[in-house]
């Protein structure tokens, strides 16, 4: 009887520690939310603003944002299991959509605010999906 109670108590303790770790390792979802929100600025700016100064300003702001997010990642104390694969899939998906959005926005839909809005949402979608999946794992 005591052996059974001990086993249950130990299992409970292990499950509690695992849950605490999951709860404290939700930084990647926050990272993805911020990067997704950034798409709503970056994509329309990249498609609708023209000229040398605008290009430099957009590129510079994007570099600063990526540097800030990278610094945020480097400060984290825990890396969730399978992070490398997950991050690779999310970023590859975003890269494809972003490339497509830029290509179409600069050829077929030049200076179209409607397309810029749709493209921004499309670029944010893989990141939001990743954040949603990540958050589901924490719960």
């Amino acid at each position: 009887m005591s052996e059974i109670a001990d086993a249950r108590q130990t299992l409970g303790r292990a499950a509690d520690v695992e849950q605490q770790v999951r709860a404290r390792s939700g930084w990647y979802a926050r990272y993805l939310w911020v990067f997704a929100a950034w798409q709503l600025v970056l994509v329309p700016a990249g498609l609708l603003l023209h000229g040398r100064n605008a290009t430099i300003a957009v590129s510079l702001t994007n570099v600063l944002m990526v540097m800030g997010l990278s610094a945020y990642v480097a400060r984290q104390r825990v890396v969730r299991r399978g992070f490398g694969v997950k991050h690779g899939i999310v970023m590859a998906s975003w890269g494809v959509v972003y490339g497509l959005a830029l290509a179409l926005g600069n050829t077929a839909f030049t200076d179209s605010p409607a397309f810029a809005a749709v493209a921004a949402a499309a670029c944010a979608l893989p990141l939001v999906t990743g954040a949603w999946l990540e958050r589901r794992q924490v719960a």
Binding site: A7, V17, R22
Partner: protein, 109 residues
């Protein structure tokens, strides 16, 4: 290895307790394994705060797990700050899962 089932000893039998890894019977070591199970790696300080032990106590327990080949210790730097990362090895993960499965079987009666 400590986590392997001993089929020749006097305790050999079908009871799930024979699948328990004696090294994980210590609460701190089990908590360390549980802390590392859902992650690829975790910083030493993160595990210390979670398990609520001192640096030296955690260091001692981690050394035992490292000697068994269940935990990998990786030292590195982020900027100027030294960092020690802990992770479960494949063998460590398998032993931990087996240990939990044995506990579940015991708990089920």
């Amino acid at each position: 290895m400590t986590g392997e089932r001993n089929s020749d000893g006097p305790q050999a039998g079908n009871h799930p307790r024979h699948d328990l890894a004696p090294l994980l019977n210590a609460p701190v070591r089990l908590s360390v394994a549980a802390a590392l199970a859902p992650v690829d790696k975790a910083e030493f300080g993160f595990v210390r705060d979670l398990v609520e032990v001192t640096d030296s106590a955690l260091s001692k327990q981690v050394s035992l797990l490292e000697e068994a080949g269940w935990v990998h210790v990786e030292k590195g730097r982020v900027g100027r700050r030294p960092r020690t990362w802990l992770s479960l090895t494949c063998e460590g993960r398998a032993v931990y899962e087996r240990h939990l499965a044995a506990l579940r079987a015991i708990a089920a009666g």
